[in-house]
């Protein structure tokens, strides 16, 4: 049955090459923890992706309850945390996932760095990876404000003060993030929400796609 469906689609849109690109390749011995336990270091990248998927899914569920306005943001999070079935778990996953993804990214970066895996021909992929790291940090920064509790508010005030002191572009950057030259309030929350939920994930998806396409194209780096 499945084979028939596959053949039916394959006949029309020729998906076999696509399938080959995604899944039909050999995994060399030196990255396989079944053969060398130390090869677990190659898991960090995959686990980063896994946690990213957790973040996307839990984040999608959080937006079902979250209200991005200063009157209701905190109340909606409080309600989610205390009243909603499994709300505490979903929010917990998003909260801790934000930390775990940074840890995993950090470990993955260290693995690639110390193995010198960024050397020719993989320079571009390293740079894309560092950009992913920056996007993740920015996601953490913007997501921190959204519960609109004291921690969120004051951390953002400090961040904006730092941004403001940057020479030449500081004022503009602050206004762009803040929505207002001085007031940290409704506009700020709306902007951070938009950045956190639309802009940065869009950038992240593009970068991740490029990252993975390049890995498939170039293959994994050889053993040391």
């Amino acid at each position: 049955m499945l084979q028939k469906m596959y053949d039916w689609i394959d006949e029309r849109v020729d998906i076999t090459p696509l399938w080959r690109d995604i899944a039909d390749h050999e995994v060399p011995e030196h990255v396989n923890p079944a053969h060398h336990f130390s090869a677990f270091v190659y898991c960090f990248g995959g686990l980063t992706f896994f946690v990213t998927v957790i973040q996307i899914l839990s984040g999608m569920f959080l937006t079902m309850y979250y209200v991005p306005d200063i009157e209701n943001a905190w109340r909606s999070v409080y309600y989610l945390q205390t009243q909603v079935q499994a709300g505490q778990i979903v929010r917990g996953m998003h909260h801790w996932g934000a930390s775990v993804v940074i840890v995993m990214l950090f470990l993955h970066t260290l693995r690639v760095f110390f193995q010198g895996a960024y050397k020719k021909p993989r320079e571009l992929n390293w740079m894309v990876g560092v950009l992913i790291f920056f996007v993740m940090l920015a996601l953490g920064l913007t997501g921190y404000l959204l519960p609109w509790d004291n921690k969120a508010y004051f951390a953002t005030v400090v961040t904006l003060q730092i941004a403001e002191q940057v020479p030449f572009i500081g004022e503009m950057a602050k206004t762009l993030l803040n929505g207002d030259p001085s007031i940290v309030g409704a506009q700020t929350l709306a902007r951070f929400f938009a950045i956190h939920v639309f802009f940065l994930p869009a950038a992240l998806f593009v970068l991740m796609a490029v990252h993975f396409i390049m890995i498939r194209k170039q293959g994994i780096s050889g053993p040391l």
Partner: protein
């Protein structure tokens, strides 16, 4: 490009048999036992993922995500802190050589150099050698930055009393009581009680909130005159009629909610 079934591939499926341009070393040239990604290796990856997920869920169950009080811009005592992965930058900006008139050095030049070097690492470390001990400069710089970031984070975190901070900022549903300032008793409240019990009856360091109290008007009048617990006597100053209005006012606020 020729596509589809019958195409011959060498190792990595993107590399066709007759294409010679850029070829990373074929896996068959690596020593040892390769394994097909689908389905053998993917199954193992799923297992690792499942174990990881169980551990991760245990973490979320054991430690619910923290939530503090609703943002209060007037809370001047609050110590602002970023999320832990920004603590090293936060700490860096506290040092004299990186703040004040050296702000640009601390906020832009140092992080810019560090992250710029990370971004451009492949072009700064161009040698053919990949082993860490064969490229001592790259390795030692990375180790140094790692130690620096770790130490800065530790310095920032160790000076914070996290438990006290959490205890002082427990989430409370903000009061939604409407205070009717046109009530005749409000003037008496303003004169005699507001200083300790607050403009919204929310209480203060020296006195509890008056929202949610279950006293009758007579009891309130008695407390206002004779005090209760740590509240001294004779706090109320005014006429008997004002005292009556004051008690009614407090009772009304509590009846409405």
């Amino acid at each position: 490009m020729k596509r589809g079934k019958g195409m011959k591939f060498v190792g990595d499926s993107r590399v066709t048999a007759d294409k010679q341009k850029f070829i990373p070393k074929d896996y068959s040239e690596y020593p040892g036992r390769t394994e097909p990604f689908w389905p053998n290796f993917l199954l193992k990856e799923w297992l690792v993922g499942a174990v990881f997920l169980v551990g991760f869920l245990c973490l979320t169950v054991a430690h619910p995500a923290p939530l503090e009080k609703i943002a209060d811009p007037t809370d001047t005592a609050y110590l602002p802190l970023p999320d832990w992965y920004f603590l090293f930058l936060y700490q860096l900006l506290k040092y004299k050589f990186a703040s004040g008139s050296f702000f640009v050095l601390g906020a832009i030049v140092i992080p810019g150099l560090a992250f710029g070097a990370l971004f451009l690492a492949p072009f700064l470390d161009k040698g053919k050698e990949r082993r860490p001990h064969k490229r001592p400069i790259a390795t030692s710089l990375m180790l140094l930055s790692f130690i620096a970031v770790f130490w800065l984070t530790y310095e920032a975190a160790s000076h914070v009393n996290w438990e006290e901070k959490a205890a002082n900022n427990k989430p409370e549903w903000p009061s939604e009581v409407e205070i009717d300032t046109s009530h005749p008793g409000y003037a008496a409240y303003e004169n005699s009680c507001l200083q300790c019990h607050g403009g919204e009856l929310e209480g203060g360091p020296a006195a509890p909130t008056l929202i949610g109290v279950e006293y009758t008007a007579e009891e309130i009048m008695d407390i206002a005159v004779n005090g209760i617990n740590s509240m001294p006597a004779d706090q109320f100053q005014g006429t008997e009629e004002e005292l009556q209005q004051l008690a009614e006012f407090i009772v009304t606020v509590n009846e409405e909610n």
